[in-house]
Amino acid sequence: MAGLELLSDQGYRLDGRKASELRKVQARTSVFAQADGSAYLEQGNTKALAVVYGPHETRGSRSKSLHDRAVINCQYSMATFSTAERKRRPHGDRKSSEMSLHLKQTFEAAVLTELYPRSQIDIYVKILQADGGNYSACVNAATLALVDAGIPMRDYVCACTAGFVEDTPLADLCHAEESGGGTSLALALLPRSGNIALLQMDARLHQDHLDALIEAAMTACKGLSKVLDGVVRQHLEEVSVLIRD
């Protein structure tokens, strides 16, 4: 009869989180040996795999290369089995090319591309399971992969979504919350400087609520950056133990 109650009177969301709580984030880097950098990340039930190649010489036509910085090439795709219903997803559909473009813009803001003129960095991201916040999972996974590849960046890029329900901003929306109406905002943040790499919102939101919503997304991003930092440090520890042996 009635739709889902996204936020109960007791302050719990559909899946039992409170308004500002993130979903459980798990990640590890260096999952592939043949790539320069790779990472696997789970943000709740959203699972993403990112692979980075480069920097290397520009492939294909020379004309694409830039004389003063590296070109970032992003490709986003979703697995056939990633959503509730199995669906063949051809390459280059509108949604994924848009997402690829967003990823490219995000990482152009974070990677120190000017260090590698006339070269190219490839980032391939695949969503293995989609449960809301696909863009942010991709960004977070790609950040880890870039770190794994040893490509210099200004900072981690952390992304998170936030939504607005009954005057309360909700951090890190799951699929049910995203599709349950209401506005969702995706934000990619460079946490240390507080610079915003990308901000995207498709639905309507009253201007008065925008600040609160951005604030919630930024807090969530900062939380995520700690998780990512932990993952990187742990990986380094493991690697250094191996080297010492």
């Binding site: 009869m1 009635a2 109650e5 109960s8 009177d9 007791q10 719990y12 559909l14 899946d15 039992g16 989180r17 409170k18 500002s20 709580e21 993130l22 979903r23 459980k24 984030v25 798990q26 590890r28 999952v31 592939f32 696997y40 789970e42 709740g44 039930n45 699972k47 795999l49 697995a79 056939t80 089995f81 509730a84 219903e85 199995r86 051809p90 390459h91 695949k126 293995l128 399971q129 449960d131 005057d167 951090a171 799951c174 049910a176 309507r204 939101l205 009253h206 008065d208 939380g223 700690k226 998780v227 932990g230 742990q234």
Partner: protein
């Protein structure tokens, strides 16, 4: 592509295994839930036949508290459940918390709402199930949870680590939920036992489900059926009557004979409607004949929009306002509506044979021209039951516990209820809710909800008329009151910064005597350039009522303050309506000011809106203000200001009338109410002074200015008020009436109508013009609120203004609050919010406001009618002069100007042979024997109260003059002894 994705997936599964081996790193300062579970749901998708696999995360937490005062371990800041949770009961002599299951909440919400029932744990799963099954009950249980005194606690059992359970193989969803309730109850039992060291505090599960009860007992819980538990309560027998009857109990009450055909299941109804076999519509019972009703088909494109239903069998248990499915009979079975008045008043409770009455219906002559589509109800799509007000008709058998209840609304069937306190309830107004209508019962079964008080009592009757007109009148809830400003309240520095300081102005208010919610004040002063500055200052209610909070929602739902005789039902809590927002004299108040610069010809040179602070210098009544204006010796600022206003108002009014604004009239009366007994002791027509019109004029001016401003600023979402021009046919009666006195009324435009009304006078008949205006008022349409983005016709017919809104009474009308908010945004004094700019939401709000205004008006009229009855009850029989307002086929409607009272004199009597009547609709005239009655004829009548039916008391009029033998009554010489008013009543 396929291969690639396959590769990925295999990697993923490998990863999955490794992931689980990782230790969980804990990071400080991060909001992460504590434990993670997942479960999957499978549903096959119907449209394309694919399988939909839904995986959802479900977090379980350690930080959900039990909510009890006893428990020290749970870090709940404000525990809800009390330590001494005592409801005295034979079954449970110890303090205990109640846990009702879903069905108990759904069916026994009346019981749970009782103030006696406190310390109840509502489980999240129960709340969710209730939400799915019944929106009204969900709303009510949520209200109960918000009520602090009730100590209802919501336990989020589905996310608690120890109370979450997974559905087992082969277990139905319902069984799983029942088990979840038991597990949660068990957890509470153990948890509390631990906390109180095996102390006395216990948990009692209430369920009416037999298998659930057995399982719970095996599980070691204390569990009772709801009925069992309520019966055991000491000292509250009346709670027993509020128990809803369960379907299993109903067999006991009813006879075994099947009286009604079975209702079809919803699926068959739906397919039937789809293929045109059935029609869907709203059932309206006939007020005068309980065996007849009509179904209005509300689907477009249907050639039949009204289906007649006759006879109990065909009505098939439909109750007024239900949405039903009907099946049409073939044409040869169609019948004409009967004109018989039938009231269901068989005195006994037995399921009496109805054959004779049914036959009465069938004996009608069947003229094919009057035949209507006829059918029968095959099923009920949606019941629209609400609690009904009415009275108990006690059973003949003294010790019986089953009684019939007669609702005040005659369209509702009588309801059978079970009560042990029938003797106490006789003569009382009570409220009853319907539980169900089994097919073998003549009447629906219901249960007693509330006793409103003894019938005929002023408070009780007021309560009844409020309930019957759906006027929300409960005291404001704690949630609402929590948004009131904290006292002592004063104007802050911040207010001073953003508001214009108009405290120096000589502002005053003019209102009716005894008014405590003053929402408008005025001022007028001469400027240095010789022009006049006129200000209208309206209480700044939107400063206190912020959008979206509980206070705002409550005000929006109430829509308007309702004024009854001697009682006011506020839209906003009294602190605001009579204190902080009321612009009383000599206190500083926040206002929203509308200030014009005018020349002495009342032409507006400049208009300016601002939020302000004012200090009213005087709160005057209309009479006081009039006195000041008339008294030439008074020369103070207030009086000067009033004189200036008065002068301008006259010019404004003149201009308005020249444009074609109507001056209408309705017989309004005021009761003089005894200050001690609150009985009406005298009535008086409302008198209009010059100052009334002065205030009105400036309010109109402010409203029009504001309407223009908000429409310019927000053309899509301005809340405006329009008054559509009536269709020409509405004026027929007015034109005919005037013709009968050789006068012509032109109704082509408002202007023409106003002019011809002004010229319509008859010599030696000064009241004639007023009568005409009263009649003209009846021809008008209702003025309504609307959202400018949803409509194109803005015209206000009565005021002859192209645009109009309500701005000047925010204390008593919600529309004004919205207009205030819009205006505040327009002048950058306040921020906006989404709903304000959403024309669909606003249009929905307008619908509610229009509905509430209409109901408030009806309630007001009903209140006046009731007080008129009280007045005449005390007076006995009196003679009065009146005028014929309308002529009907068998009656004349008479208006008594002295009391503003309208009543009918009927010429056909049930017990006597009717006199010879001939009605001419052209005149309209009615010839009774030899005398012809025309409209506006003067007559003499006796007025008395007919109290034969205590639920429907009415004023009865009988003709004295002109004398018609056999029809008119002799003049009562003096008041008969028996009718002498009792002094102690």
């Amino acid at each position: 592509i396929c291969k690639k994705s396959y590769d990925h997936s295999s990697t993923y599964y490998n990863l999955q295994e490794t992931l689980h081996k990782w230790p969980r790193s804990s990071i400080k300062g991060l909001s992460l839930p504590l434990m993670l579970r997942q479960f999957t749901l499978h549903t096959s998708k119907t449209r394309s036949g694919g399988v939909l696999k839904i995986v959802r995360e479900h977090y379980l937490r350690d930080d959900i508290w039990c909510g009890s005062e006893v428990c020290k371990e749970c870090k709940d800041e404000a525990p809800v459940l009390q330590e001494h949770a005592c409801i005295e009961s034979n079954l449970c002599s110890y303090p205990h918390y109640l846990i009702p299951d879903t069905n108990v909440v759904l069916h026994q919400i009346d019981i749970l709402e009782d103030p006696l029932i406190r310390n109840v744990i509502i489980l999240q799963i129960v709340l969710q199930e209730v939400r799915h099954r019944s929106a009204p009950v969900y709303k009510r249980i949520k209200d109960a949870i918000h009520e602090k005194e009730k100590h209802f606690y919501t336990f989020t059992n589905e996310h608690h680590r120890e109370t979450f359970i997974e559905r087992e193989q082969g277990e139905s969803a319902n069984d799983r939920n029942d088990r979840a309730i038991r597990v949660a109850a068990k957890w509470y039992t153990d948890h509390l036992a631990k906390k109180t060291n095996g102390g006395s505090l216990k948990v009692v599960l209430l369920t009416d489900d037999r298998s659930n009860k057995e399982k719970a007992e095996q599980y070691g819980l204390i569990v009772y059926r709801c009925e069992e538990y309520i019966k055991s309560l000491i000292g509250n027998p009346e709670l027993m009557d509020r128990l809803a009857l369960k379907p299993d109990d109903q067999n006991e009450i009813t006879g075994s004979k099947l009286l009604f055909p079975e209702h079809l299941p919803l699926s068959r109804i739906q397919s039937g409607i789809k293929n045109g076999m059935f029609l869907q519509g709203t059932f309206h019972a006939n007020r005068d004949n309980y065996l007849e009703g009509k179904v209005f088909i509300n689907r477009e494109g249907e050639e039949i929009n009204e289906v007649l239903l006759q006879g109990l069998q065909n009505l098939n248990r439909a109750v007024h306002q239900d949405v039903v499915a009907v099946e049409l009979f073939p044409k040869e079975h169609w019948v004409a509506p009967s004109s018989v008045v039938l009231q269901d008043d068989s005195p006994n409770d037995e399921d009496a044979e109805e054959d004779e009455t049914e036959n009465k219906l069938k004996g009608e002559p069947s003229d094919s021209s009057v035949l209507q589509p006829t059918g029968r109800v095959v099923g009920i799509i949606k019941r629209n039951w609400r609690p009904f007000c009415g009275m108990l008709s006690q059973s003949m058998i003294k010790e019986a516990t089953r009684h019939l209840f007669t609702p005040a609304d005659r369209r509702i069937p009588r309801i059978r209820i079970e009560t042990r306190q029938a003797a106490n309830l006789v003569g009382q107004r009570i409220m009853v809710a319907i539980d169900g209508w089994p097919k073998n019962s003549r009447y629906p079964n219901g249960h007693f909800v509330k006793n409103l008080g003894s019938a005929g009592d002023k408070e009780t009757e007021t309560e009844v008329l409020l309930l019957e007109h759906d006027v929300p009148h409960q005291p404001f809830s704690q949630a609402v009151l929590s948004f009131l400003p904290k006292m002592p309240w004063s104007i802050t520095e911040e207010d001073l910064k953003v508001r214009a300081d108009l405290r120096h102005l000589c502002v005053c208010s003019v209102d009716p005597p005894g008014c405590t919610d003053i929402d408008d004040t005025l001022h007028c002063r001469e400027l240095e350039n010789g022009n006049l500055e006129v200000g209208v200052h309206i209480a700044d209610v939107s400063h206190f009522i912020r959008p979206g909070n509980a206070l705002d929602q409550e005000a929006a739902s109430r829509g308007t303050t309702v004024y009854l005789c001697g009682k006011r039902i506020d839209m906003v809590p009294e602190l605001l309506s009579s204190n902080l927002c009321s612009l009383r004299s000599n206190v500083e108040r926040l206002a929203f000011s509308c200030i014009w610069e005018m020349n002495h010809n009342a032409e507006i040179l400049k208009a300016h809106f601002t939020k302000s602070i004012i200090n009213s210098k005087a709160s005057l009544t209309y009479a006081e203000a009039q006195m000041r204006i008339d008294d030439s010796t008074m020369k103070d600022d207030i009086t000067k200001s009033l004189r200036g206003l008065n002068r301008l108002a006259k010019i404004l009014k003149g201009r308005r009338i020249a444009k074609g604004a109507l001056t209408l009239s309705s017989p309004e009366v005021r009761f003089h109410i005894d200050s001690e007994t609150h009985d009406p002791i005298d009535l008086q027509s409302k008198e209009l002074k010059e100052t009334n019109s002065m205030v009105e004029e400036f309010m109109l001016l402010a409203n029009i200015s504001v309407a223009q401003k908000i429409y310019d600023e927000f053309s899509e979402c301005a809340l405006l008020r329009k008054h559509p021009s009536p269709p020409p046919s509405n004026y027929d009666i007015l034109i005919k009436a005037a013709k009968s006195r050789d006068l012509n009324i032109h109704t082509d435009s408002a202007k023409a109508l106003a002019d011809s009304l002004n010229n319509a006078t008859v010599e030696n008949f000064p009241y004639f013009n007023t009568l005409l205006r009263i009649l003209a008022t009846r021809c008008m349409m209702q003025a309504v609120y609307f959202c400018s983005g949803m409509d194109s016709d803005f015209h206000h017919y009565g005021l002859a203004s192209p645009i109009y809104t309500h701005f000047t009474s925010p204390i008593r009308r919600y529309a004004d609050i919205i207009v205030h908010r819009l205006l505040a945004v327009a002048i950058n004094a306040d921020s906006t919010y989404p709903d304000l700019m959403d024309k669909h939401k606003q249009s929905a709000l307008c619908n509610n406001l229009n509905y509430r205004h209409k109901m408030a008006q009806y309630a007001q009229r009903a209140s006046v009618a009731f007080h008129t009855q009280l007045f005449f009850k005390n007076k006995g029989i009196i003679n009065e002069e009146g005028f014929i307002l309308f002529v009907r086929k068998n009656a004349i409607i008479i208006l008594i100007p002295k009391f503003g009272l309208e009543g009918a004199v009927f010429f056909d009597n049930k017990d006597k042979p009717s006199p010879h009547l001939s009605f001419d609709s052209e005149g309209p005239t009615l010839k009774v024997e030899e005398h012809t009655f025309r409209m506006f004829d003067e007559v003499k009548v006796t007025i008395s109260l007919d109290a034969s039916n205590i639920q429907h008391q009415r004023i009865r009029m009988a003709l004295i003059e002109p004398v018609i033998p056999g029809v008119s009554v002799p003049v009562p010489e003096s008041e008969p002894e028996a009718k002498k008013p009792k002094l102690d009543c």
